[in-house]
Amino acid sequence: GGIEQLHQFLNGTRTARATFTQNVISKSGKAGQKASGSMLFQRPGKFRWTYEKPYSQLIVGDGSKLWTWDKDLNQVVVKPMGSALGASPAALLAGDDDLDKNFTLKDAGEQDGLAWLDATPKTTEAGFERVRIGFKGGLPQAMEVRDNFGQTTMLTFASFERNPSLGADNFRFTPPKGADVVGE
């Protein structure tokens, strides 16, 4: 089932690389913004989440801080890693035991050829109601994050590589010249 594949994945995966598409569905079922990009992670706690479309935005978790950079806004926001959980699903996959420690896991059966699991946060601080992760061949293929207002973000992964070698620079953030860097 989903939980078994999740634990296999977490135990056997130190780094990962994939592309993603992101679709937001509002509470009323209206399709919201579509976005796409690529992600890397290195456990525990480091990840790089790059939005390429419809605009350029980068979220880097370097293990202690969370960096968010938006090219058009020309601003870099630095925050403690704690707020990462709600900022990027990569933080969930990259966490060492985040999922077991902070979530109640439940197998959610087979659908669309994937084995799903439901992860419900144990506290309200996560900022969302529930995450569903769909596995196939021991790799995450899809994630659905439902927030506390009933809006759902659907993520699908593609070209998922397990344990590629990733340079340390991927998980360091150097603010671009001229960008405002603000934050804790």
């Binding site: 992101q22 937001v24 919201g32 913004q33 976005a35 989440w49 939005y51 419809p54 605009y55 935005q57 979220i59 968010t68 938006d70 058009d72 806004l73 020309n74 601003q75 926001v77 709600g86 900022a87 990027s88 699903p89 309200t124 601080e125 900022g127 969302f128 994050v145 927030d147 506390n148 207002f149 809006q151 973000t153 405002d180 603000v182 934050g183 804790e184």
Partner: protein, 172 residues
């Protein structure tokens, strides 16, 4: 003169700014203030009678909602808390540490100022920079190189707080 990256052909003809009473926009917002900063997405539906603002993180998850109507204003958080006030401007201080004039903001984003605003215009007669109720407003980019174009990047600043919006979509 403010820059224009957009392809004019994508941008439909726009009504005169003074006639724009209702709009819906999505934007990315950088809020920069002394003690903290946020990069957040905003979906805003505005009419003279109502405002509905949804604030989302990059993942599209709603972190807070601000609603204004005849009954007053309400701020809802993702932790299920609800704060009420007579004024939506006051409730914005839950995000920006100080009140933000929502009614004025609804003018600035379409490239207008209030009655007592002092404006500087570009060579197409569009707002470039201005002063309005103590705020400095700058339109850094328009959606197209046309006199009727709407702003794409707008900045509103008072000492200790700067709000920069990159408007990704307009619905009039």
């Amino acid at each position: 003169c403010a820059g224009q990256p957009s392809r004019p052909t994508d941008v439909p003809p726009r009504p005169p700014r003074s006639e724009i009473q209702n709009f819906a926009l999505t934007a990315r917002v950088a809020i920069t203030q002394a003690r903290r900063a946020e990069t957040i997405r905003m979906a805003w539906e505005h009419t003279p009678a109502q405002d509905a603002m949804g604030f989302e993180n990059s993942l599209g998850m709603i972190v807070a909602e601000l609603q204004r109507d005849a009954q007053g204003a309400r701020w809802l958080t993702s932790a299920g808390e609800k704060y009420e006030s007579r004024s939506a401007d006051e409730l914005m201080a839950r995000l920006t540490d100080r009140p933000v004039p929502i009614q004025s903001l609804s003018l600035w984003v379409v490239g207008r100022l209030g009655q007592n605003g002092i404006a500087k215009f570009d060579d197409k007669g569009r707002l470039l920079e201005g002063l309005d109720s103590g705020w400095t407003i700058r339109v850094q980019e328009y959606e197209a190189d046309r006199p009727d174009a709407l702003p794409r990047i707008v900045e509103a600043e008072v000492p200790g707080l700067r709000i920069r919006l990159v408007i990704d979509s307009w619905l009039l």
